[in-house]
Symmetry: C2
Subunit: 292 residues, 2 copies
């Protein structure tokens, strides 16, 4: 298997579906669609939809997962728009481009985020060709992961930790919610739709929990050692904002060790699926070595 070729293929498929879901409704409310597309269709690593698709394929599924994979990406995009707003992180730059509110103003950015969140559910509901009970089960996972017990809950912990020293348990809890919840939902929804058993879904949860933590540790390392041009945003912002990260808490060497450990643990979980899991193994290693 040529990993990068397969990865590129999955990214392209994601882009195609995302564009498709946005074409039909380009009407008189043009302004907000433009703002939504600006954040949704302008790059991004497409980690979540690719993970959803490949976890679905692991259990024999395929493109029928795409409405849900795209819904996950829309929720990710909305969370970035709201997170960048002046009342939150007040960031001007993302992926090398001005953030949504810098281009469209705060009010429109707020509504574009609301619109993407709502549209995520609409896209999945409208385009799903699954049995209705599977659609409902998948959306239960999605709404729980995106909500106050998931991603939003993580944001709250993040907000309340500002300018504070937090301990390792709080840091882990925060990231398991803020980043982890959506990554875990991607893996579980993919597996569910692919036809995985309950036991398999639990394994994919375990796999993606390790992957989600590794992903965040890598983010923290990149904020120290990354290349600004590749990242498309300034490095060192965690330090400037006095944020507790895996690097500030454990030091850069230990953080790198943890990144490797968690990646290995993730790969170990899916190893029992043999060759079928090759893409996911390479994907895990790609996330470890990525430079953006």
């Amino acid at each position: 298997m040529d990993f990068l070729f397969e990865f590129e293929k999955k990214i392209n498929l994601t882009e195609q579906y995302l564009s498709k879901y946005f074409m039909e409704n380009d009407n008189h409310q043009k302004a907000i669609y433009e703002a939504m597309k600006y954040s949704l269709l302008s790059g991004g690593k497409r980690i979540r939809p690719v993970l959803t698709l490949s976890c679905c394929e692991l259990f024999g599924g395929g493109e029928e997962v795409m409405p849900f994979a795209c819904a996950l990406e829309m929720i990710h995009a909305y969370s970035l728009i709201h997170d960048d707003l002046p009342c939150m992180d007040n960031d001007d730059l993302r992926r090398g481009k001005p953030t949504n509110h810098v281009v469209y103003g705060e009010a429109m950015a707020l509504l574009a985020g609301d619109g993407l969140l709502t549209r995520a559910f609409e896209v999945a509901l409208t385009n799903s060709e699954l049995l209705p009970n599977i659609t409902v089960d998948a959306l239960k996972l999605l709404s729980a992961a995106a909500g106050t017990e998931g991603m939003i809950g993580g944001q709250v912990i993040d907000m309340e930790s500002e300018e504070k020293d937090i301990d390792s348990v709080t840091l882990m809890t925060m990231h398991l919610h803020k980043t982890g919840a959506l990554i875990m939902a991607a893996a579980k929804i993919g597996a569910l739709i692919g036809g995985a058993t309950k036991e398999d879904i639990l394994k994919m949860e375990s796999f993606s929990r390790y992957l989600g933590i590794a992903f965040q540790i890598k983010d923290d390392i990149l904020d120290v050692e990354g290349n600004e041009e590749l990242l498309g945003k300034p490095v060192g912002s965690d330090k400037i904002n006095h944020k507790t990260t895996f690097v500030t808490l454990y030091g850069i060497e230990q953080a790198k060790k943890m990144l490797e450990d968690y990646t290995l643990k993730a790969i170990e979980v899916i190893s029992e699926y043999g060759e079928k899991a090759d893409f996911l193994k390479e994907f895990s290693n790609y996330l470890l070595s990525r430079d953006r």
Copy 2:
């Protein structure tokens, strides 16, 4: 039928379900639940859930509609929180109390809104006891009504109309989206879950379209003639903000005439259901004569 007794009963039922859906998850993310409850459980006329329930009852349904009725109210509550934010209408007072961001800060209010929107879908998905295909169909209506082709789309038109004179068509389009979409979704979802035929659902759409417009005209009239204490917010804000309303466009007398006309039209549509529609008829008249 004692209308006010029945109305009160339906409001109480709504409050009970709303509280129930918020009890289980009162955990360590306490801060955001407090902010969400502040806006969701602090008064409000409960127009949408009562409409959902009574349209469901019209076709023989009952409490099985409550997860959806509550979802509608949560979406309404989120829209008010975001609408009040400084970057939007910048309102300090609602229902006689400080708005969400005044109490909890902008960042928390933003997240509380996001949380309520997400929770709306989660509550409906998790608590629905309907056949999965009905759950999916009801949520399709909900997401479409709340999204960029519905409520959010109306917000965009509203935003783009600021400090501008707009014509009657734009005004009507704006309100059919901003207020109308959710009111129409309430009626249609209620009817759908109650077991209405497609034809019946179309009738309920027609009924609630008239009702939604009447509701907005009444709002515009109250902003001129209403009692600040009863309304819980300052009157005259439309004039101060140079907003085009049914009153500025048609004059107060003509607006009152339109309010009566649209209410009559709404009642006419449901008259064919005979006595079973008595509550909805009285409800329509109540909305016409309300003082808040």
